[in-house]
Amino acid sequence: MARTKLQISRRNFLKSSLLSAAALSISSCSAQPLATVLNQNGLRLPWFRTGEIKTTYNYCDMCPWRCGIVVKSVDGQIYKVDGNPADPKSRGMLCARGQAGPSFVYDPDRLRAPMIRTGARGEGKFKEVTWAEALDYTAEKLKITGQAFGPEAVAVFGHTSGDFWFTDYFAQAWGTPNAAKPSSSLCTSPREEAAKLTYGLPIGGHEPVDWDAINCIVLIGSHIGEDARNTVMQDFANAWARGAKVIVVDPRFSNVAAKADYWLPIKPGTDTALLLAWLNVLINEERYDKAYVADWTTGLEALAAHVAPFTPEWAAEITDLPAESIRATARLMADNLPQAAIIPGRHVTWYGNDTQRMRAIYMINALLGAYGREGGIYFSKSPYIEAYPHPPFAVTGSSGGCSAEPGQESAELPLGPTGKARADGARTNFLRGATAMQELIPPMISGEPYPIKALIVYGVNLLNSIPNPQRTIEALKKLDFVLAVDVLPQEHVAWADVVFPEATALERYDELWVVAHKTPYIAMREPAIEPLYDTKPAWWMVRELGLRLGMEPYFRWETAEEYLDARLLSIGSSLDKMRQTNGVIVQQGKPYFEDFAGESPFPTASGKIELYSDELASAGFEPMPTYEPVAEPPAGYFRLLYGRHPVHTFAKTQNTPLLNELYPENELWLNEDEAGRQGITNGQYVWLENQDGARSGPIKVKATQRIRSDAVYMVHGFGQNAPELSRANGQGASDTKLQTTYALDPISGGAGMRVNFVRIVKEV
């Protein structure tokens, strides 16, 4: 009996194990059971095998460069973002910040519902309300402000890629010229105005460097790699590997300086002296593109006379660089002309003389014959597409700043419905350019030239981007109404009366991304998932506000898809058709002289590159750049320099879980020998105090040979005082809070921020 029993049970055992093996192999086809099995073993099935992958097209919002991306989601959860191979910027690749797009979406600290303030302003006490309540309340406040002070009394600040809806569409429809973007006067205004003054064209969002054929690359302060704009890293790496020569001018041995053929560790603030000396060498040694200069520039004789005294020896004294290096680098550029250029930087608001410095850069590029030449600086072209056919706006022209299409900016300042032009001091305190955000703060306090009573702030980290945040807080206290639209409870959100929680870029449709480029192109944004929580896209918010404010004619469209399809119809396309071409429409450009059939590509008065600027001379400015010394750090102080880290964007990403993990706090770069003299060790925490007594939070010292001993450096965007940001709050030090002063560029309205000095405090 016993033997028979054993035989049966053995047979059963074999059968059952065969069955379970079969079940296991079947279950690997239908993912869920295997996932369960794996989970029981403490393992996990990779996301790309758990279900059907949904692919949507988007352009990245993790930095303003806006690479085309494909977003992969499974069962309503976003898992992975990759570069879109069809996109001219990303070309299938993506930086760390872009990779962290889903991490930004799933940041548990996100704003979840509309809120109305209950405590004192700045206290951060709110009650959650419905969208209807929040919209009604906001519309009422805006209506009261408009009736009492005119629509111009509402300022609109916007940043990141949904800013179009508030800063451009809503502001112009509502009727305020006081709409501003930080990308202008806190960043690129000087280079844009200098370019338009010198050769009639703006630089635009994508610097038109012809990387494919350039043979000599000159970077002034640009720290490619740490400034991780995807396309620029790709282009630089390819040019460098091809053997292009690289000259880096930077007080700090940046990662890109480590790849340079020449690193010029310049004394901060003396760049214009170096540029004048380079001009001197190019002209004196007749190392410039003579035919090009004769055909396409005016004012060479005046320039030659102007720069004659500015020898390399003269500049060596000022810049703390050897005269031979200055001469050798000028010759290296000349040896490679016209495949040589100084790359227009991006953040160039440094010392308040920045438009003139940028003009000197463009003059050198002109002498090298770089503009419109293969391997130099190409002519970028905007793609053709019509605006949405809305009725004329209450304020016409570009009030918002860098959104203006080339050639469409008006020389006259746009006026609001009650006849008021911008309150930022354009034409009185500075000559020209996009609205200067920081200059809209004083009218909020003083009421001059007229009062600004309400502020809509969309995606601008107000207290961690505009210098003199102490003054901004004063303004926030004085305003009648503040609306904050944001994804995260940033520091300034505590100062709002109403908070609109926004859906992230991966959860919404948005305005098309229309890019002036070598190959002009248009990219689309569509949601990968439904918005989380009770968040809404900006287009929906402005439409709901508009309908409550009697602005129906501007909001005949009901959905973003309808708006977008109407625009796309003007080029015979649609959202559906764009999806067929991987979310991108690429058009033909006109990058080189040959594409202009003998016409001048330079829309200046002379039709040429103006080395001598009549326009500046007649406005009372130096027609050619001169070197003006900037204030030196007082004894015991260092000049405060700041820059980028490859995994962070401005003051936006410090709380993003993935990026926070990779770089949670900034460090103070301090010259190692100087640290030794002060008895400070690597890794020690110190405090900083600026020339006005403003203090930073504790920051870890990075004692290094990689920086001059007269300056310190930190990555921008840290040291936020925002208790609702569980990861970023209080981490590292804030450069902005140490920038109690700035130097206004009298030409472009840019806020030069490298005029602040700090001393190191070891104990508090």
């Binding site: 898992y79 690749m93 760390a96 872009g98 490619i224 740490e226 991780a228 890293m233 990662n255």
Partner: protein, 260 residues
């Protein structure tokens, strides 16, 4: 059999960490876990400086110490790369101690490291880090192709850096991550000639085979002993029976004395 490899060009690498983030998101690594670590290396005194990027990751050694010490077969070589089947891992951490580059870490009690994105690659894709690298410092492909590209790049790099060289062609039997170095390996915090610790060789070549032999011997010995013991036991029992039956025969009439 085709072997595959990564190319890691430290000339091109600009330290942007895109690979780190792509690896973390693509492989859904837990907070605190990274398969790639980027750091800077600086040499010299201001202003005569040199600097490069260190890209620390699994280098997929052909003679992989981690595979040698792994008692369960969780770590194994496939297509030239070092794979990890975490479900087989017992969490002994021998690999953590054995790796000459300090790569594997224990996460939730199991070994954890880059497996060359095995699933993605087998499905026809590129490893996450390679796919996203903006400076084109990373490539993945057949080892021969990668090796040729590495030599091409190193030669081009020697115009700028006279000591530029290929690393990983021979080290540890050939690495699955072939590096293009702008300088001597020692300058870049890499051992010129990394070795598997002698103890490991002993472990792999002597102790493990010996232990297998010993195990066989002990099993055989035990079996033999059991057979002998059983035979002895039977003999003893038989002997007892003979005695008993003799006694019983003397007492009563026996009729089934030999049946047991």
């Amino acid at each position: 059999m085709t072997t595959y490899a990564f190319l890691l060009d430290l000339g091109r690498c600009i330290g942007c960490q895109a690979c780190v983030a792509a690896c973390k998101t693509g492989n859904e690594l837990s907070p605190g876990v990274q398969y790639i670590h980027i750091s800077e290396q600086t040499r010299g005194v201001f202003p005569a400086l040199q600097s490069s990027i260190k890209n620390h990751r699994c280098y997929h050694c052909a003679d992989a110490a981690c595979v040698a010490v792994c008692p369960t077969g969780a770590l194994y070589k496939e297509d030239g790369l070092t794979r990890l089947d975490a479900s087989q891992c017992s969490g002994c951490a021998y690999c953590v101690d054995a790796c000459p580059f300090n790569v594997p870490q224990l996460v939730n009690g199991r070994s954890n490291k880059c497996d060359g994105c095995a699933e993605v690659v087998k499905a026809g894709g590129q490893p996450w880090c390679v796919k996203t690298c903006p400076s084109n410092a990373l490539m993945y492909g057949e080892r021969e192709t990668i090796m040729a590209e590495a030599h091409r790049r190193a030669e081009a790099l020697r115009v700028r850096y006279p000591h530029a060289q290929v690393y990983g062609e021979t080290q540890l039997g050939g690495l699955g991550v072939v590096m293009v170095l702008p300088d001597q390996p020692e300058q870049l915090d890499l051992p010129a000639n990394p070795q598997i610790p002698a103890v490991l060789n002993t472990w792999q070549n002597v102790v493990q085979p010996a232990s297998v032999g010993l195990l066989g011997f002990s099993l055989a010995f035990t079996g033999l002993a059991a057979i002998i013991a059983r035979r002895n036991h039977k003999q003893e029992v038989a002997h007892l029976h003979v005695q008993n039956s003799a006694e019983e025969t003397a007492a009563v009439q026996p009729d089934h004395a030999n049946e047991t």
